[in-house]
Symmetry: C2
Subunit: 207 residues, 2 copies
């Protein structure tokens, strides 16, 4: 009967790990990095301290694993949101709205807390740096695909990069001021620029 | 003789206040918000705990005053850097390089630490929010002027806002990866877009 009992145990262990990771992200968003202690996370997840220490010996282990977990979710969510968009006119605007929302979501906030903490914490930086590079490449790839951008054309790659830096900047602004409408207008304007520059569509002259 | 002795005392008090503010900014950049304690700042500034408490009763008082001080410096520095730029061809690129450097400087890093801390600290947010609005308006005004942008034209205002969100996003990226060259290429490309969109200059077609 050992096999039948061992399977649920492994499941329970996986479920517990997942609860800890999800609780970590929640607490990062609610209390910031300095408020994200293993005690608070264990309580939130309903997991004993012993079990928490078994899965994640240090706070950094927990936090880095949580953001790694989140990163995978982020990529999947973004890919799904982008895949559902209709083709044709207005597509660039729709793509930028999805990117704007993505970079203003709790997931971005949790990542922001980590980036800022990693700036003054070498050990954390060593873990967060490579993770962010991976996310960056994946987000860039998804954006190129969604916009139908041809990066072989000179200047197109830089515009895609600029687009991602723009939504990152908008996401940062959003953390202290609720500026959804402002963001929408800026993104629409940027989308029109991309249509002209990348797709060579002419829009109404502005002067 | 009271007047002659009172003047230097007032000067000393002002100098002490300034030293505390400058030390706070330095410590914010080096150790982050959670590492910016009044003890560390007093030591760095060479000011007694008593004198520090006299000027700034709480850590938030100190931190908010330091960023207010910094904000004034930021505006003055940016205005000066922009005023020194030559007119004519290549001006937009030069303006964007100045903005890019400005949003990747220690002053931006100190502000970033505050924004992120304010997100989960209501009292700090109440002080940082209005301050950031003021800086935002001033930076926008300087940018409009430097670019020679006519905001009466439809879509121009949104492009200026997008430019500032772009440099904010680049500044955020810069805190964890040293990407000066990447930033330069992106900003040059965006400057060319602005020349087309705002100044109706035609550049070499990219396709």
């Amino acid at each position: 009967m050992t096999t039948t009992t061992r399977v649920p145990q492994a499941d329970r262990s996986r479920a517990m790990r997942l609860r800890l990771l999800e609780a970590t992200v929640e607490v990062l968003v609610e209390r910031g990095f300095s408020g994200t202690t293993t005690t608070v996370v264990s309580e939130r997840a309903g997991v004993s301290r012993g079990a928490q220490l078994h899965h994640f010996p240090t706070r950094n282990d927990l936090v880095v694993a949580a953001v790694e977990h989140l990163t995978v979710l982020r990529g999947a969510e973004l890919a799904e949101a982008l895949s559902g968009l209709p083709r044709g006119k207005g597509r660039s605007r729709a793509v930028l709205r999805v990117l704007g929302d993505h970079f203003s979501s709790p997931v971005f906030t949790a990542a922001l807390e980590l980036w800022v903490a990693a700036r003054t914490d070498e050990q954390l930086l060593a873990a967060v740096g490579p993770l962010e590079q991976r996310v960056g490449r994946e987000t860039h790839r998804l954006t190129v695909e969604a916009l139908g951008a041809d990066e072989q054309q000179p200047g197109v790659r830089e515009l895609v990069q600029a687009t991602l830096d723009l939504v990152r900047g908008l996401g940062l602004a959003d953390t202290i001021t609720d500026d959804g409408r402002r963001r929408g207008r800026i993104l629409d304007r940027w989308a029109d620029v991309l249509d002209q520059q990348i797709h060579h569509q002419t829009t109404t002259e502005t002067a």
